[in-house]
């Protein structure tokens, strides 16, 4: 029998039981849609995170802090008494392959403008060096970032200027904002407020998402001012610019820094963070795909069940076909073709609906991207991140193939049984 005839015969059998075929296909659709949706969302999420991390903290930078682990925030708490100081940049600058380094003093303060007040992260940095390291993100949208500031000035992130995203500004260039820092008197333990009246000289370009570099919701003051205002030389982090982003260079510099500080600091490279994130994502993806895969297996069992029922119903038909001289392998291919049709239709609709689902989820997700001022620390602000689901060709073809394979594999046994029926016995079947 010609392949085209086998296929159209199989198709006529499927058409006969539309509802049943529809439900079988639905099983495959759900399984495939789940896989495609989960994988394309997580791929999209991964892409946007790595993208933002890459712009957020240039790949040729290292972050030195006294704390262990991820994030240079105020959580720098180790057993050691070692404090990182602004002057330590000089030690780091001596190390081979280091281009420059910049200290960051970071405190959480109240910031007042007009009637309103927010608790925000205030970071003291050397504007010239910081702008050099983060040339992609520490850029003025309005105003100008002064390279050698002497006065009490501030540079603010986009969100500080326009926190509600509706034109009502908290502050803008030429505003004067009041930074209030509360210290506790060492002997009386009473709070004492210090104020810093800063003239806003620049508002940064929107950075979006999060990174370890500049953020939309930070306030920047010159390092010298920070040292005076916070009465300290202690810094939270030192950001190091390496001459190139070769993995070997990055590693050797990291090691050299650790050695220079007798292992009392931790050095995080952006590539290491990216790698960690990628591997975390790979694991998550694997799990998600596994769960979705299980639902597809359930669909496969459904296919098998339906085919066995249909096999019994069609025993007599198979007897007729064999009595007419149909070969066993043709009977087998008719049944497998039915599975191929179910699998293909199911997989095609599954990929399409999975893709639609992924986009719907993405829209809902970014719609909830919380406007307003993030109070998070300098490190990570996830709000406002846009996920664009990504359907890679591998996922696309893989899902199609998987749907098809599952359908065919589960149809193998029923199809084999159909092909083995003996004509007389099948014809006798009531």
């Amino acid at each position: 029998m010609k392949a085209s005839d086998v296929f159209s015969y199989a198709f006529s059998a499927i058409r006969l039981r539309k509802l049943r075929a529809g439900l079988t296909i639905l099983g495959v659709v759900i399984g495939i849609a789940a896989i495609v949706a989960l994988l394309s969302i997580s791929q999209g999420l991964q892409n946007s995170i790595s993208e933002q991390l890459q712009t957020g903290f240039a790949t040729d930078t290292l972050i030195v802090s006294t704390g262990g682990g991820f994030g240079p925030g105020e959580m720098a708490s180790t057993g050691s008494d070692f404090k990182l100081s602004v002057n330590h940049t000089q030690i780091i600058d001596e190390i081979e392959n280091v281009d420059m380094s910049v200290a960051v003093i970071q405190k959480s303060c109240y910031v007042e403008s007009g009637e309103r007040e927010f608790r925000l992260t205030v970071a003291g940095v050397d504007f010239a060096k910081y702008a050099d390291i983060y040339s992609g993100t520490f850029i003025a949208k309005s105003g100008k970032i002064p390279l050698n500031p002497e006065n009490e000035i501030v540079v603010v992130g986009k969100r500080i200027s326009d926190p509600w995203k509706n034109g009502t500004l908290f502050c803008d260039v030429d505003y004067t904002i009041k930074i209030i820092w509360t210290t506790y008197n060492a002997s009386t333990l009473k709070p004492e407020n210090k104020t810093y009246m800063g003239n806003v000289v620049a508002v940064l370009e929107e950075i979006g998402g999060f990174g370890l570099g500049p953020s939309d919701s930070s306030v920047y003051i010159p390092i010298s001012q920070a040292q005076t205002f916070f009465e300290t030389n202690e810094c939270n982090t030192i950001i190091v610019k390496v001459e190139n982003d070769d993995e070997t260079t990055i590693e050797s510099v990291s090691e050299a820094i650790e050695v220079a500080f007798s292992d009392q600091v931790s050095v995080i490279s952006s590539t290491a963070v990216l790698n960690t994130i990628s591997s975390v994502f790979a694991t998550i993806e694997f799990f998600l795909a596994g769960i979705a895969g299980i639902s597809l297996l359930v669909a496969g069992v459904g296919i098998m069940n339906i085919m066995i029922v249909s096999l019994m119903e069609r025993t007599r038909e198979i007897g007729i076909l064999k009595a007419l001289g149909m070969k066993s392998r043709t009977v087998l291919s008719i049944f497998l073709s039915e599975a191929v049709i179910v699998g293909l239709i199911g997989a095609a609709f599954g990929v399409a609906s999975g893709w639609v689902l992924a986009n719907v989820v993405a829209v809902v997700f970014s719609g909830g991207g919380l406007p307003g001022v993030g109070r998070g620390n300098h490190a990570a602000t996830a709000g406002g991140m846009v996920i664009t689901p990504v359907l890679t060709p591998t996922v696309f073809l893989g899902a199609l193939a998987f749907g098809l394979i599952v359908s065919v594999v589960f149809a193998l046994y029923p199809a084999w049984r159909a092909s083995k029926l003996k004509p007389v016995e099948a014809l006798r079947y009531e």
Partner: protein, 228 residues
């Protein structure tokens, strides 16, 4: 003596139903020459259908042999049997048409199995249905046809692949006598004009009377044969 088109030697078929042995055939020797018209008669359970199924290669004997044009059927493998069945025109008592296919579709399917092209088989299916007097019914499904019409579709189907012989198991058992006469007239014409070798199982003495040879069966044996 030429090779007979069908020959059985000491054909036996035993079924085991639990511990009970049912001997459906107990040594049947039959020889059919090309162009013969045989009627097989006998009471219910005498083994008529069992014999016909062996000849049509639908079933395997417990003992003995079936030769089709001199070829020992027991030497054929699964594919060989399928090829053989394509050259047998089988007409069943209960029509055995495929319900979801039309009259034409049923006849066409038979030709699609050996791989005949769509155009040719469509044309031939229409011709065959016209021959059996169903020109007006080609597009009807079995459920939309009368018993007699269904049996005519079954005959058209049996003839589709130009079979070497026709095997009919009580072809008129489920239809009225007028229609059954018409159908038998058709079969007799085929035998006379085209020399189609035919074996027909029947309970109907009128039909048997028209056959060249009348074979009487009882308890799995041929007990008598009349040649007219």
């Amino acid at each position: 003596m030429t090779t007979p088109i069908i020959q059985t030697t000491n054909l036996r078929k035993t079924y085991m139903l639990g511990k009970v042995r049912v001997e459906a055939l107990r040594g049947v020797d039959l020889r059919v020459e090309k162009g013969d018209f045989l009627a097989i008669l006998g009471p219910s359970g005498s083994g008529k259908s069992t014999l016909l199924n062996m000849i049509g290669a639908l079933d395997k004997p417990t003992e003995g042999k079936v030769f089709i044009e001199g070829i020992d059927v027991s030497t054929l493998d699964d594919n060989g049997l399928a090829d053989l069945r394509r050259k047998v025109g089988f007409v069943f008592q209960f029509f055995n048409l495929i319900p979801r296919l039309t009259a034409k579709g049923n006849v066409e399917l038979t030709m699609a199995i050996p791989g005949l092209g769509k155009k040719e088989r469509g044309k031939r299916a229409e011709e065959l249905l016209e021959t059996v007097g169903l020109k007006e019914r080609v597009g009807h499904k079995p459920a939309e046809l009368s018993g007699g019409e269904r049996q005519r579709v079954a005959i058209a189907r049996a003839l589709a692949n130009s079979p070497n012989f026709l095997l009919m198991d009580e072809p008129t058992g489920n239809i009225d006598s007028k229609t059954s006469k018409e159908i038998m007239a058709l079969v007799i014409r085929l035998n006379k004009e085209k020399g189609m070798t035919t074996i027909v199982i029947t309970h109907d003495q009128h039909i048997a009377a028209q056959a060249k040879r009348k074979v009487q069966m009882l308890d799995g044996l041929i007990i008598r044969e009349e040649v007219s």
